[in-house]
């Protein structure tokens, strides 16, 4: 089965990049779900933990490239927060590698699709999230 991936996308860069991937018909697996927030800085750790609790095998937070954040520095806060959450995931036994951060601009449709494909492959190699067997999540 395809691993389940959740992508948090910021409204200005990566969500527009995801749209551009669509407009350009760059394909990636259907098990990727996109969640729109205004800024990657809005993504709090609890969203990430809950995504895992609700069946995700991998979570990716995407935002504008450093220096290009629509909100000046929200993406840098996201970076710090993701880094800390990765440590927590490692500590919890889920593995830090199930959480990723990527900068994707509004013009990088191809990159968006590539990142989703690659991340899906990497998570596939890791196997399903260990939470699933313990919590009987689908």
């Amino acid at each position: 089965m395809e691993p389940k991936i959740v992508a948090f996308c910021c409204n200005w860069c990566s969500y527009a990049g995801a749209d551009l991937a669509g407009v350009s018909r760059y394909q990636y697996p259907a098990a990727v779900r996109i969640l729109r927030v205004m800024c990657s800085g809005r993504v709090e750790p609890v969203f990430i933990f809950d995504a895992f609790k609700n069946g995700a095998d991998g979570v990716i937070v995407t935002g504008c490239h450093p220096g290009e954040c629509h909100y000046v520095s929200g993406n840098l806060n996201a970076e710090k927060r993701v880094e800390n959450t990765r440590k927590a995931l490692e500590y919890l036994g889920l593995g830090a590698e199930r959480l990723r951060l990527k900068w994707i601009s509004a013009s990088e449709g191809l990159k968006f699709a590539e990142v989703m494909r690659e991340f899906t492959e990497e998570i596939k190699a890791l196997g399903p999230s260990p939470i699933k067997s313990r919590m009987s999540v689908k």
């Binding site: 205004m38 800085g41 809005r42 969203f47 995700a56 520095s73």
Partner: protein
């Protein structure tokens, strides 16, 4: 399809509208199945499937359902909020549903188009996405947009032909314009051209009067030799900081008589002539410059070496020379900003691009342009740099620094095909006995009169060789051998010429990155500024009140740049004329009961919109400053800080339903 029985769960009455978007969604996703599924979700009282939900009839369908079923939440599963959210928000408001109670579910750009061959997977995903949308919609809260007054001034960055046009249009409408130009004179690239295609009119003859008109327009304040270094604020209320570089000449006293120029002992390569010929350290940019005032280039002035040269001071009868001038800053307020910094041509790498920079007789087409120009360094006589002889055989090479995986894959939009072709035609018209070879991959001649121009080039005897040259070999006498495969004949040709002209592609101006970062305008893959929508918003940016025009947002010829200048002015004028702009209702909100005054949110706010009320030990939000990123909400350890429309429970509602079916 209608679900008749009333759903008694809370007070939410949700309508779900699934769009087929012709076959864009309907060809991949089973929309009826999605609608059937949506009807089973809690709170959903009706569902409807439309061929085009955004059409008049589709929107009327939404409004009818709102009235018939007394809906208080609307979910549309269609294309993308980036383009269509405003449309449906208005549709809902008209029918009495607050626009923030509308939820967009993206099942086209991020579903059907992404999974063209996986119909089953795409349908399942669409169902999940709709479920997420419905659960989020249940928790949405009505919000109000705030209205702000729009300052009646405009800032136009860049005074090339696009920026000048924008400034003139706004000035003529009665708005005050600060026209900020980095160079000492307005005019931009067009001021450097000899003739312009496809009519071959004299460039400065048509631009010069326009430049004078700009200067005469009483509503335009030209700030030449100045740069915008900081922009604060938001739509309607920007504050720009402008740096004014010192000219070391008092512009109020100077008349542009150029007596200081004559007496200045220092000669440096003349940048306006692409480095050909020289100018003095004290100079007037070019004869038609506006403002026609002198500048002293202190970097090259003898004074910067500590010498006490007073040549210019003595020469100036009006006492205008003033070495005490320093960089100055001014702040201006403006309601709108038009960004028109222009473009540059690709700078060939020495040794990499056909021997440019190593072989004297390989020059760029911009340099050739100045040689052709009657006001240029050679007064219009084409000579080759190595021995100043007139070249009798010329090779023009197209697509240098464009359509090339090694440097820049993008095409310059036909502009450099036409540019190089024009220069060959001008030369051939002056001296028919000169042989011209033009090496091309494809000729792109898309607009009115361009194809005819190309035919004329052929009729004049310019020889077109289809193929990208592999190398240019310099001979001892300075002649050059261009080696290229003629892909139409299928043979390798070695053509000896006296001068090689590189048709360099259009690339981003160095200022574009700076402006992009300063104003937060995203850049496209080609590095140029990105418009709000490639088809329907060509002069808008994603930022309210900021518009873009000219070569900065993609290669453009002169008519298109002028049209964009006018277009940007018209778009900006909408805000200026009404004097009002709407601000999104998505801002931070602090629950002062819960707040513990830890101030973690204050530390991460990029706008200083949060302040700690020390008496109460609670954080307060200054809503006029908040732009609604939500970074504060994510940092709050007690859940007291929230981002409206993206409240924790609203996002969590989506997270909990991510994979309900799959």
């Amino acid at each position: 399809m209608e679900k008749k029985e009333k759903v008694n769960e809370g007070e939410e009455r949700i309508g779900v509208f699934v769009c087929r978007c012709g076959v864009n969604i309907g060809g991949v996703v089973d929309c009826d199945e999605v609608a059937r599924y949506a009807a089973t979700l809690p709170g959903v009282v009706c569902v409807s499937v439309n061929k085009f939900t955004c059409s008049d009839s589709g929107q009327a369908d939404i409004q009818e359902h709102i009235r018939k079923y007394n809906l208080n939440r609307v979910v549309v599963a269609a294309c993308t909020p980036k383009t269509h959210e405003p449309t449906f928000r208005v549709c809902c408001e008209e029918a009495g549903v607050n626009q923030y109670l509308f939820e967009f579910v993206n099942i086209r750009d991020q579903c059907s188009w992404m999974h063209i061959w996986d119909h089953e997977g795409a349908t399942k995903k669409a169902k999940d996405l709709v479920r997420m949308g419905v659960y989020r919609a249940k928790l949405l809260e009505p919000l109000e947009e705030s209205e702000v007054a729009v300052d009646q001034n405009a800032v136009v960055i860049g005074a090339g032909v696009a920026g000048m046009q924008a400034a003139m249009d706004l000035g003529d409408m009665g708005f005050h314009v600060y026209l900020v130009e980095k160079e000492p004179s307005i005019g931009g690239r067009m001021a450097r051209f000899d003739k312009v295609f496809p009519t071959n009119d004299c460039s400065i003859c048509i631009l010069g009067p326009k430049m004078v008109e700009v200067a005469r327009n009483e509503n335009i304040e030209i700030m030449s030799y100045s740069e915008v270094v900081e922009v604060k604020g938001f739509v309607g209320n920007f504050e720009a900081t402008i740096e004014h570089k010192p000219r070391y000449i008092d512009v109020d006293k100077c008349t542009g008589c150029a007596q200081c120029v004559e007496k200045c002992p220092v000669e440096v390569p003349y940048d306006f002539n692409e480095g050909f010929g020289t100018r003095r350290a004290a100079y007037v940019p070019f004869p038609q410059a506006v403002p026609l005032r002198g500048v002293i280039d202190l970097e090259n002035c003898l004074r910067s070496e500590g010498k006490e040269c007073k040549a210019c001071i003595k020469a100036c009868e009006r006492d205008a020379i003033d070495f005490s001038q320093e960089k100055k800053y001014s702040k201006v307020k403006a309601g709108v900003i038009i960004v028109a910094p222009g473009f540059v041509t690709y700078d060939p790498e020495p040794g990499n691009d056909y021997g440019y920079g190593m072989d004297d007789n390989v020059i760029t087409t911009m340099e050739f342009e100045r040689l052709l120009n009657a006001a240029g360094p050679t007064e219009g006589h084409v000579i080759r740099p190595s021995d100043c002889k007139e070249p009798m055989r010329l090779g023009f090479i197209n697509c240098v620094g464009s359509r090339d995986v090694k440097t820049n894959v993008h095409c310059s939009g036909g502009v450099c095909c036409m540019f190089n072709m024009k220069n060959a035609i001008l030369l051939k018209e002056k001296r028919p006995e000169i042989s011209c070879y033009l090496f091309y991959m494809d000729i792109r001649a898309p607009f009115r009169g361009y194809e005819e121009f190309y035919n004329r080039a052929r009729e004049l005897g310019i020889r077109f060789v289809r193929g990208r040259p592999s190398e240019v070999i310099e001979k001892e006498n300075g002649n050059l051998v261009i080696r290229a495969e003629d892909t139409l004949k299928g043979v390798v040709r070695n053509i000896e010429v006296d001068l090689v002209v590189l048709g360099t592609g259009i690339v981003p101006h160095s200022d574009i990155e700076k402006l992009s970062k300063m104003l937060k305008i995203p850049r496209a893959a080609d590095g140029l500024l990105m418009e709000a929508h490639p088809k329907l918003g060509p002069v808008d940016t994603v930022l309210g009140g900021v518009f873009v025009a000219g070569g900065a947002s993609g290669p453009k010829d002169i008519p298109l740049s002028v049209a964009q200048g006018s277009g940007a002015a018209a778009r900006a004028a909408r805000l200026l004329v009404t004097g009002k702009a709407k601000i999104e209702g998505i801002t931070a909100a602090s629950d002062t009961e819960r707040c513990i005054g830890c101030s973690l949110c204050v530390d991460v706010c990029p706008y200083a919109a949060l302040t700690l009320d020390e008496k109460e030990n609670r954080v307060m939000v200054v809503e006029a400053i908040c732009k609604g990123c939500g970074t504060c909400a994510a940092s709050c350890p007690v859940g007291a800080m929230e981002q409206r429309h993206f409240k924790t429970e609203q996002v969590e509602a989506q997270v909990k339903n991510l994979f309900a079916l799959t």
